[in-house]
């Protein structure tokens, strides 16, 4: 590696937050390559999740799980390649905040579906005609 140091106009060195490239200077080609990889991966995963519905390859009750897996994978691709959420030391706070966010989201969505599903089963069916 060269001794070149990445410094912005404020004189900050080696700082990497969300949305930033690596602290080490990166060529245009390298950074465009990162976005291209992310774009191709995201496009493939999107096509896959639309395709899953049209094909008979997946066992019908498994389709929902498959779609969820594909969506989580694509969200991961977005976080890494587009939002540059990395394991770099300066990203620790961001990753911790993300983990907290994921816990809250899982509690809200999972908890709602779980509890409301049980309530639905216990309540007498009602139809508009009744």
């Amino acid at each position: 590696m060269t001794d070149e140091r990445h410094m912005d106009e404020e004189g900050n060195v080696g700082d990497v937050g969300p949305g930033f490239m690596n602290a080490t200077p990166e060529s245009i080609r390298e950074s465009v390559q990162g976005y291209l990889i992310g774009f191709v991966l995201a496009a493939l995963l999107t096509v896959a999740s639309f395709y899953v519905l049209r094909t008979g390859l997946i066992w019908a009750p498994g389709i929902v799980v498959m779609l969820a897996v594909l969506a989580v994978a694509q969200i991961g691709v977005h976080l890494v390649f587009f939002m540059h959420l990395t394991t770099a030391p300066d990203n620790t706070n961001n990753v911790l905040a993300l983990v907290f966010g994921i816990i809250v989201v899982v509690l809200i969505i999972g908890g709602s579906i779980w509890i409301m599903g049980h309530l639905n089963e216990r309540v007498m069916p009602m139809y508009p005609s009744m």
Binding site: G17, G19, L67
Partner: protein
């Protein structure tokens, strides 16, 4: 070379920008914001604060997703989603937003090397694809309402319009922000504060695409998969 020698090999970034840390054996002393590295720079703090805002926005969306998932079958005898959704239109919207997000990333690369022309070009096409997405969505909404699926028909359609409409509002606000960012880059140039705003805008725009991934899966695909 022994393990300790490897650890003591100076890293290219192994120095102390704020003259605070005198890190001997403390690990990454070139990193600011971790005590011995000195205070974090404004860039990192702004990015972190905006990231927290985005996470709270994601939690807001998760509430809408949860209510939509719960009301999935609450159509009150009216039309159901899969009867009226147009998968082709959803696929087109997804493509528009993904391309827009990609171009937004390229604009960040161009801004990183302070290239006015390409930054503006990429931001402009980011906006064009964002606008195309929004127009497709408006077309979808009008066609749904025309076919008898307005928000007051059933709880299902109320939650549908709430969650998709909320995302659409975010895209609209993002487009307005995009316009002001283009003007700021043009008139003020790549000043540090403008660069920080650009970073925030980039994060916001990528977050919209991230939400859309969850949205088309939960609202359009899983509904159809059942």
């Amino acid at each position: 070379m022994s393990a300790t020698e490897v650890l003591r090999t100076p890293h290219p970034l192994d120095f102390d920008p704020y003259k605070v840390g005198h890190g001997e054996g403390g690990g990454h002393d070139y990193v600011t914001g971790h005590g011995e590295g000195g205070p974090a720079s404004k860039r990192v703090i702004v990015g972190y604060g905006f990231w927290l805002f985005l996470l709270s926005d994601i939690i807001l969306f998760s509430c809408l997703f949860a209510s939509h998932a719960v009301l999935q079958t609450a159509t009150a005898g009216g039309p159901t989603g899969p009867q009226l959704f147009d998968p082709m239109s959803v696929a087109l919207e997804t493509a528009c937003l993904l391309i827009s997000s990609f171009l937004c990333g390229l604009s960040a690369v161009a801004a990183g090397v302070r290239n006015q022309l390409w930054t503006q070009v990429f931001l402009f096409f980011t906006g064009i694809f964002g606008l195309a997405f929004l127009l497709l969505e408006v077309r979808d909404f009008t066609s749904l309402v025309a076919r008898g699926a307005s928000p007051q028909v059933s709880a299902f359609w109320s939650s549908f319009f709430a969650v998709v409409g909320c995302h659409g509002c975010h895209v609209t606000v993002g487009l307005l922000w995009l316009g002001t960012m283009m003007a700021q880059v043009y008139f003020k140039g790549f000043r540090p504060n403008v660069m920080r705003r650009l970073v925030c805008f980039n994060l916001f725009w990528h977050m919209l695409d991230l939400i859309w991934v969850a949205l088309f899966t939960i609202v359009y695909l899983i509904g159809e998969g059942r």
